[in-house]
Symmetry: C3
Subunit: 208 residues, 3 copies
């Protein structure tokens, strides 16, 4: 705070939002690595935990800057909501991995890999969309990313249901409950990605 | 968009909101038909799926019109939230029916029929409330519908809990988990109905 | 309403918010008593039900006053959201107790007591934070309570996961499902406490 910076405050908000989005992609990639190659599990889980802490730090920086800034590039509440939603995506990814550890489940199946892929695609859409907040001219094209994130959320929802049906056919009840919890966390990660998209949509609507 | 219309833009928003509400009622009626008369199941499920697509189309039209309108009858974000909440009600109804198909459950019991009835009553309140958005003089009476929707949501919540208790007494664990998922989707439909009511309440509060 | 009062309207809003917060603490204390001393269960549950009704009454008073007030101390929607979130905390506490009755579960374990303690601590933070809404000079220190409520929500989340793992190790599947529902309601109570904190944060942000 004592440091003098030539970078204007508003730019710094966008930098932090983009840093949060980039951290989402890194966490989604770490989950994909974990479920696609079920080895060195403690190390991979440790990495996801570290990325979750990094995400917390970005969120705190955004909220703290909101409190010491008189001017913000768009509505304060929307910036706060965006920060919390991105944080939630990372938390749910961590939560899914955490349940895999806690329940000592075996090797993830194709459905888990499918859900991890959808989460990563959603995070990548957020990364592609975030820089478009910087300029009024970018706001229109923001909406295409929102539509794609919505489509991915629907896809995750269908994968989740198919996964549940398969669970009942192939596993005992204890495994059904355990994996259901994991699937649910993964599906929630895409839901929160949609929350991010809804903030984007709202910002585009208000500033159109 | 090239078509010249004598209908003012603002009226068109209300028309679409009412179309979305009417589609909610039709979907709730289709669910009630399905669970009350457990025959011709694929046809009835197909109808619910078609209504879900019709609902998506209304939602997209509302959001698209938000983006090309300079003036909106009430806050843009509230219109978007209303559209998404109505969409969610229909999605959860579809989701409940979808689980019934996927899990190949048997004939629905009285509790399922009770929940379907509550969802329909909630949707009918939304249909009755929506036209009151058109005039400032209607906003006060909007709140009576909100109170009724809240009451119905509480009733759904109680039916959901009673249904769970009965599940444990009468079924094996696999059925408990399957029906719980169906009950949960139905209860969520009434939760989202309450989200619609909250938007109504907010609009009435802001414009009182 | 016919009564003449020297107390200005705005003060009355704060009084009601503080009454709602105090009721949250009383309900959380009643839950703690229930799970720490598993005797006189019907009486203790009855007390929680009464506190839930008292909470409903405060919520209705806040919403009703919103509708007949031209001036409000902060944004109408935020006051409504705050009232509904405090109501939800109490509802989830009641819901957890209700499931314990309905499912006729045995004596609660340490994890349940841990969750009840976290809910109470969260409610106490809300009580400590609420009076700071009254003065602009208090808004900054509001955020410290929000941070603490967030921390407690994370702690509840960890307790919830640990509780689930222990459930699988120590209980049969029917008990796993029943207790999971109870844990989930308790964890949701702390989530809604975080919603309260988010409204506080938003108010502080908008009026900073």
């Amino acid at each position: 705070m004592a440091k003098i910076s030539i970078m204007p405050r508003e730019e710094k908000f966008f930098d932090l939002i983009e840093a949060g989005a980039a951290n989402m992609v890194r966490t989604a990639e770490a989950l994909k690595e974990l479920v696609n190659d079920w080895r060195d599990i403690p190390e991979k889980f440790h990495k996801i935990t570290e990325l979750e802490h990094a995400g917390d730090s970005v969120t705190h920086q955004i909220i703290a800057m909101l409190h010491r800034s008189f001017v913000t590039p768009f509505d304060r509440e929307d910036i706060a909501l965006l920060a919390h939603s991105m944080d939630d995506v990372v938390d749910f990814i961590h939560s899914a991995a955490d349940y895999m550890m806690l329940y000592k489940v075996g090797k993830p199946n194709d459905r888990v890999r499918e859900l991890a892929e959808i989460i990563l695609l959603g995070a990548k859409e957020v990364v592609a969309a975030a820089p478009k907040l910087r300029k009024k001219s970018g706001l229109k094209s923001l909406l295409e990313h929102c539509i794609e994130i919505n489509r991915l959320e629907n896809q995750a929802d269908q994968a989740y249901r198919a996964a549940l049906v398969e669970l009942f056919e192939e596993h005992n009840i204890a495994d059904v409950i355990k994996w259901r919890e994991i699937y649910e966390s993964m599906e929630s990660a895409t839901d929160r990605c949609e929350d991010v998209a809804n903030v984007f949509e709202g910002v585009a609507l208000k500033n159109a």
